[in-house]
């Protein structure tokens, strides 16, 4: 018995002493001491991996500014950031899609971004597309600035167009031509569809696009009034519904991701979705891939803009020197957006969007046009992740034939209005 009794505290003591005497803490402290001269801030993002650009910035500003960069998974970005903020270990600069920024602004943990942009020599009215800068305020204050855009576009298979006797260089431009082409492209015996309308995805891109085309809005951020169950909303969802149940150009009950998979396999001739699929489709279809701005299904051109924005958290480390470092990074990022565009990230920096070199990159002129007519989600806390659950769950029921268009939108609006009252 004696040996374990003595051995255990000795072991604990040894571990404690070893830990205390370890060279590791000293080793860690040393670089921190040398880096103390540089104004350092942490930057997390869930969009495109920016590590190469960050490395370039750290090299360019060595000894003056430095960024500790972390690319977090998009799927659970909110809980990662919120857990970190709860533990007071959140980042200084954060980049996510737009609506996740709203609760932080409402709770007063973000700083206004205009002074930082001015410090970087950026004039948002001059340098950002109006579609990405206007309507991004909370209580009339801008807390966010755009990072990149992902407009909703029309992808189509030129080979299938040609086989159906259609001109592969003239994709549909309105509802009538879309339905006409989709009917010609649907060959049920071959399992080929003119268009695949999934009940779920990509409605977070498509429904707001069509709603805006019919002149509607999802909600009013100032009053938090839900507006999508308007005649415009009914018209938008009726169009989607008709592709399945009236015109029969889309299969019933398509699974999640099926529109994408069938498009890659050459069994789906047209898809209206986010431009993020462009590199995959380009690889799969090569020269047979066509891309165009969305056809005007409603009354005017409009498309939903997927997007990433950044904002700066209030924290004790946000010293004047760190503010300068953040501003320097903003300038560095936007001025390198042509490089990023070549790697597939769609810029929101007007000087780049207007640059002839940018317009020579395959697909980018279409995307630039789509950015001009883009619409954003209303800047209401967690619109994208939480409240829209009701909307898209009910839309999926409508598109599965389990609910009428009117009832689906009405129930969704009712639930979401109730949810609005519980949000920060």
């Amino acid at each position: 018995m004696r040996q374990p009794v003595l051995a255990f505290p000795l072991l604990l003591g040894a571990l404690w002493l070893t830990a205390g005497a370890s060279p590791l803490p000293a080793a860690r402290a040393k670089p921190a001491a040398t880096k103390a001269a540089a104004a350092t801030f942490s930057f997390w993002n869930s969009g495109p991996d920016l590590s190469t650009l960050v490395k370039g910035f750290n090299r360019a500003y060595a000894g003056k500014y430095a960024i500790h960069y972390r690319n977090i998974p998009y799927a659970n970005e909110t809980e990662i950031v919120n857990s970190a903020l709860s533990a007071h270990h959140g980042p200084t600069l954060m980049e996510e899609s737009l609506t996740p920024s709203a609760p932080y602004a409402v709770e007063g943990v973000e700083v206004p971004i205009l002074p930082l942009l001015k410090m970087a020599g950026i004039d948002p009215a001059r340098d950002f597309p109006a579609s990405m800068w206007n309507r991004t305020t909370v209580n009339k204050v801008h807390y966010v600035a755009p990072v990149d855009a992902l407009p909703t576009v029309l992808f189509y298979n030129k080979a299938l167009f040609k086989a159906a006797g259609l001109n592969p260089n003239t994709p549909p431009v309105n509802q009538a031509t879309f339905v006409r082409d989709a009917k010609k492209l649907t060959v049920r015996a071959k399992g080929q569809w003119g268009y695949v309308q999934e009940p779920a995805w990509p409605n977070p891109f498509l429904f707001p696009s069509l709603l805006a085309q019919f002149g509607g809005r999802e909600a009013n951020p100032a009053t938090r009034k839900i507006l999508f169950d308007s005649p415009a909303g009914l018209a938008a969802l009726t169009f989607e519904h008709n592709t399945i149940f009236k015109w029969h150009v889309s299969p019933l009950n398509a699974s999640n991701g099926e529109a994408h998979n069938l498009f890659v396999k050459g069994k789906n001739a047209m898809e209206m979705t986010g431009a993020y699929d462009y590199p995959i489709y380009q690889k799969a279809l090569g020269n047979h891939l066509g891309m165009a701005v969305l056809p005007v299904i409603g009354h005017r051109p409009a498309d939903f803009l997927g997007q990433n924005y950044w904002w700066v958290f209030k924290n004790p480390g946000l010293t004047p020197a760190v503010r300068k470092a953040v501003a320097a990074w903003f300038g560095y990022y936007y001025h390198h957006s042509l490089l990023l565009a070549k790697e597939g990230t769609i810029p929101v920096w007007l000087p780049t969007l207007k640059n002839p070199a940018f317009r020579r990159i395959a697909g980018m002129p279409v995307i630039a046009r789509a950015v001009d007519t883009g619409v954003l989600n209303p800047l209401i806390p967690n619109w994208g992740t939480t409240t829209s659950t009701y909307l898209y769950a009910n839309i999926s029921l409508v598109l599965e034939g389990k609910s009428s268009v009117k009832a689906g939108l009405h129930i969704a609006a009712q639930k979401m209005q109730q949810e609005m009252a519980t949000l920060p």
Binding site: M1, R2, P4, V5, F8, P9, N76, T78, E79, N82, S83, L85, S86, P103, Y104, E107, V109, G191, V196, P199, A200, P251, L252, N253, A254, S255, N256, G257, E258, N261, L262, K265, K267, P381, N382, T385, T386, T389, A393, N394, S396, L397, E400, K402, K415, Q418, E419, T422, L423, P424
Partner: protein
């Protein structure tokens, strides 16, 4: 007289009731209590690491979770005011509340899943374990059936989401049909059940197989001599004999099924509508996305209470309770 009794004949020389008297003999008391104290200290030291980890990683979070559930709690700014038990009352009794609707809807879906999954999660592994036990090729079939249990939820759901697609999925290609496995009911629940049984049966099979190997072979030999076939031996000999193991597998499967999250989250997105959204998805959504951490914590504790009650009921029933 020797200080310690010889091992042989211990019970006759020193009946248990006399041990205390023996220890109290003059000259031995100090040494014995010192040894006892050392033993106690030693025991506590051995359990200390576990106690520290249990306290830090289980007891403290549970206590803190209860504290959060009694407050308005936004993860960004923390405590936003005491609400006491009103969140619990709202969840349980206020049918007009969105949270209460989510809670009961989610709990209903979870209980439904437990009901349709646990019988299969016990029966299928038992049949497989019995088959492996009675047939040859144990070293081949055991790892083969256990293999899916080694895969991550993401891998399993990604594979099955692809296999079960309506238009181009492998299952529908084989069947020559377009069954909406993931986007319409009852197919969505059938798919989630199927995937769960495929994924986790191997784990239960190993436990049940271990239980079968502990049975005396003579019982099976006797059944064979009496003319019992494989099926009748299974129902009349194997099942009654492994009943304690079956109860254990049933309880752990119930707990696992109650914690359903990844399969509907990744396969059906909780749909169609909300019809496959278990309570864990609502807890996750309220806590991390809608930032109602107090409500999410209260939902989690109510779910825990329901789970404990069901598990105790199962245990009581399996022990012949009420008879």
């Amino acid at each position: 007289m020797p200080l310690r009794p010889r091992k042989k004949g211990w019970s006759t020389q020193f009946p248990v009731k006399d041990v205390g008297a023996w220890r109290k003999r003059p000259g031995l008391a100090t040494g014995a209590s010192r040894a006892k104290a050392k033993g106690t200290v030693s025991a506590y030291l051995f359990v200390l690491p576990f106690l520290v980890l249990f306290g830090g990683l289980t007891a403290y979070p549970i206590g803190y979770g209860i504290y959060i559930s009694l407050h308005h709690w936004n993860p960004i700014v923390g405590n936003s005011g005491w609400v006491g038990l009103s969140t619990y009352a709202e969840l349980l009794f206020d049918g007009s509340s969105l949270f209460s609707q989510q809670f009961w809807q989610g709990l209903g879906h979870t209980v439904l899943f437990v009901g349709i999954s646990v019988p299969f999660l016990v029966a299928v592994p038992l049949i497989i374990a019995y088959g492996i036990y009675r047939a040859g090729g144990k070293s081949f079939f055991r790892p083969l059936y256990f293999f899916p249990a080694t895969l991550s939820a993401t891998a399993v759901t990604s594979i099955w989401a692809w296999i079960l697609q309506t238009q181009g999925g492998a299952v529908n290609q084989i069947l020559g049909m377009h069954l909406p496995w993931l986007v319409a009911q009852p197919w969505a629940w059938i798919s989630i059940d199927l995937v769960t049984v495929w994924w986790t049966s191997g784990f239960n099979m190993i436990i049940l197989y271990a239980g079968l190997t502990q049975l005396p072979k003579t019982v099976f030999d006797a059944a064979a001599i009496d003319g019992a076939g494989v099926v009748s031996t299974f129902f009349s000999v194997a099942v009654p004999q492994v009943k304690p193991v079956l109860v254990f597998v049933g309880i752990i499967s119930t707990i696992a099924s109650f914690n359903l999250f990844a399969q509907p989250y990744l396969l059906t997105g909780g749909g169609p509508g909300f019809s496959t959204s278990p309570i864990t998805m609502f807890i996750y959504g309220e806590g991390f996305n809608a930032m109602h951490m107090g409500t999410a914590a209260a939902m989690a504790f109510l779910m825990g209470i329901a789970l404990a009650a069901i598990s105790l009921g199962q245990y009581w029933f399996a022990r012949g309770g009420g008879q």
